[in-house]
């Protein structure tokens, strides 16, 4: 089946500094994809670029297709139809993501009026239904409240309601729970996965929290310094990471069961986008780096039916991991 979204060779530069360096990614209908990586690895920027939400001075090249239609360079009217109507997005900091001087009703109804053929009372009824759906108590009355009258978790629920207003095929959740308390995080993630199931909507969950991604996603892509370095079904990635960076990320997580072990940190820091090392961007921090790693950046290669890795030392890396497990 043709993918819902396919991204090919997507590159982005701000003031001639490349921040995204050739990303290939495909997403099926109804699929939940996790995107993990450190801040600045290009997770959010990939989707902001796909929807044409980057500032004008960003140079974007490559291709982003939604159901085969090219989005990059599409006319503004077509993009406005896609945004919110086919692809909705929610953001990290709910407190500042809603307009402080407009009521919730106004902001919700605006989205409904743009993407749904509803008029008059029907718009208001639908706005109330959406607030009920995302679990805002006393929805009818709360519609006339302003954003500052809600808690952070509630505002994120309202953001989700607004994202659902256009019945999108894909919801991009950009660190939706990072700014929230742990208990609220769980509620919001639960809400997202319920809605996704009920509306059979695809979702991209951008997060630096591996646990969140493991629980909520079918497939995971790990990003490092503007590239995807490993892609695999969630269970496989967490059980058997191949790229040394993915191994490092997972090694830094404390295991919930089994014997206590020392957590491993990845040495060094993410390279500055303006001074990328030649070859593999992770090589300077990689324990397995060999001479060829510094020569050319490795491209994503299939290592099994549904897994790709961008590492010339993938085999060695896998052996090390298996060797470690055998000890």
């Amino acid at each position: 089946m043709a993918p819902l979204v396919s991204i090919e060779g997507l590159s982005i530069a701000f003031n001639d500094v490349p921040v995204l360096r050739g990303v290939d990614l495909a997403l099926g209908r109804g699929e939940a994809l996790g995107l993990v990586g450190e801040s600045g690895s290009g997770k959010s920027v990939t989707w902001l670029a796909a929807l044409g939400l980057l500032p004008r001075h960003a140079k974007v090249s490559g291709s982003v297709r939604l159901d085969g239609r090219e989005l990059l360079g599409a006319p503004a009217a077509e993009l406005d139809h896609v945004r919110g109507g086919r692809v909705a997005m929610i953001f990290q900091d709910p407190a500042s993501a809603l307009n402080p001087v407009l009521t919730i009703r106004k902001q919700l109804c605006e989205a409904l009026a743009l993407h749904r053929d509803l008029q008059g009372e029907a718009v208001k009824a639908e706005a109330k239904r959406l607030l009920d759906l995302v679990g805002i108590p006393d929805a009818a009355r709360r519609l006339s409240a302003y954003p500052h009258e809600f808690s952070g978790g509630q505002v994120q629920r309202i953001m989700i309601a607004m994202a659902l207003a256009g019945n999108p095929d894909l919801l991009i959740a950009d660190e939706p729970t990072t700014a929230l308390d742990a208990t609220i995080q769980a509620q919001i993630l639960e809400l997202l996965s319920t809605i996704r199931r009920e509306m059979s909507m695809a979702m991209v969950l951008i997060s630096h929290d591996l646990g969140v991604v493991a629980e909520n996603c079918d497939r995971v892509a790990v990003m490092y310094a503007g590239r995807i370095v490993e892609q695999a079904p969630s269970n496989q990635l967490f059980a058997d990471p191949v790229h040394p960076y993915a191994q490092g990320l997972i090694g830094a997580l404390p295991p919930l069961d089994g014997p206590r072990r020392r957590l491993t940190a990845i040495p060094g820091t993410v390279p500055d986008p303006a001074h990328m090392p030649s070859g593999c961007a992770f090589a300077p921090r990689c324990a397995l780096a060999a001479e060829p790693c510094g020569l050319a950046a490795p491209s994503l290669a299939l290592i099994s039916d549904d897994r790709t890795v961008a590492c010339i030392r993938a085999e060695a890396s896998r052996r090390t991991l298996l060797g470690m497990a055998a000890e």
Binding site: A97, V101, L102, Y146, A165
Partner: protein, 309 residues
């Protein structure tokens, strides 16, 4: 809500009292009205009589209390120069001043706000740079310099417009232009930075992400937020309607409140100066109060705070 405004009104009254007190003290410490009005050659008896007639021999605290009790009765004193009530002298000058400052206020807003919005929306473009350069120039060149440049070009060189006086509407053009250009520059800079600040906010991205066309993002999401800081500066400009044209009126020999103030200060015509200052303080304070009310109207977060305060 009531308490919020009660506090504000109380503070406004206090501001007026402080301004009037300050003017009272400074004027009395900085020169003798009797010498100023009668001249240095006046006989000592005349000076003594003048001082006695106007109560200038009384201790300053006594004069001060006297002044305030008169204000409480609605009396603002008489001009020491021609004996007419000070308020009458001031009121008859106000129409002339408003004839300059009201049109100027309109042009400031009509030029400055759109220029600022346009520059913010096209940040970094040639037009943005041109607007900002003009704004910095209009902002930094003092109004008397600008006034003289305009006179030099349009009155002396081109001979299109008169250089001073108040005989026809053509006489008002250069003073209004001088006032408008400076104010429009300030307003353009302010509006531009308010807009840039708002356009960088996450809720603007949210609006775009839900498919709102850009022109509607600007009009229904950005402008209502950018209006909040812009209203502050507008309030300040309303406050200067009465006495904001002192320099311009002097340069163009325009018989408004500003010129009256300059003459009255030079003569130490105490009642007139105090009357003008009281009026200025009251317009300033009133426009600030109106701005506070407008904030509550424009920003629901402040409304909520006011309700709880």
């Amino acid at each position: 809500m009531g308490r919020y405004f009660a506090i504000r009104i109380g503070r406004a009254a206090l501001t007026i009292v402080l301004v009037v007190t300050f003017a009272f003290v400074v004027l009395r410490l900085s020169g003798d009205p009797a010498l100023m009005i009668l001249g240095p050659e006046a006989p000592p008896e005349a000076i003594a009589a003048f001082r006695k007639a106007w109560g200038l021999d009384d201790p300053i605290w006594f004069q001060y209390l006297d002044y305030f009790s008169a204000i409480a009765k609605g009396e603002l004193g008489r001009s020491m120069r021609d004996g007419r009530p000070a308020i009458e002298l001031v009121l008859e000058r106000i129409p002339a001043t408003l004839a300059l400052t009201l049109p100027a206020f309109f042009f400031k807003v009509a030029l400055g706000v759109p220029a600022g919005i346009y520059a913010a929306l096209h940040r970094g473009s040639g037009i943005d740079r041109a607007v900002m350069m003009t704004a910095v120039a209009g902002f930094t060149v003092p109004s008397f310099v600008l006034a003289l440049i305009l006179v030099l070009v349009f009155a002396v060189q081109l001979g299109w417009l008169p250089s001073g006086g108040q005989d026809s509407w053509r006489h008002a053009i250069l003073p209004i232009a001088t006032l408008s250009l400076g104010g429009a520059a300030v307003l353009a800079r302010f509006t531009r930075s308010a807009m840039l600040e708002v356009l960088g906010q996450p809720y603007i991205r949210t609006a775009s992400a839900k498919g709102v066309p850009w022109h509607k993002v600007v009009t229904s999401h950005a402008l209502p937020n950018a209006a909040i800081p812009t209203v502050t500066i507008l309030g300040f400009m309303v406050g200067t309607l009465i006495a904001g044209a002192v320099v311009v009126e002097s340069v163009f020999a325009w018989p408004g409140v500003g010129r009256l103030l300059v003459v009255a200060v030079a003569n130490r015509d105490l009642a007139v100066v105090q009357c003008i200052l009281l009026l200025v303080a009251m317009t300033m304070v009133t426009s600030n109060l109106v701005v506070d009310f407008l904030y509550g109207f424009l920003d629901p977060r402040l409304r909520a705070k006011g309700a709880h305060a």
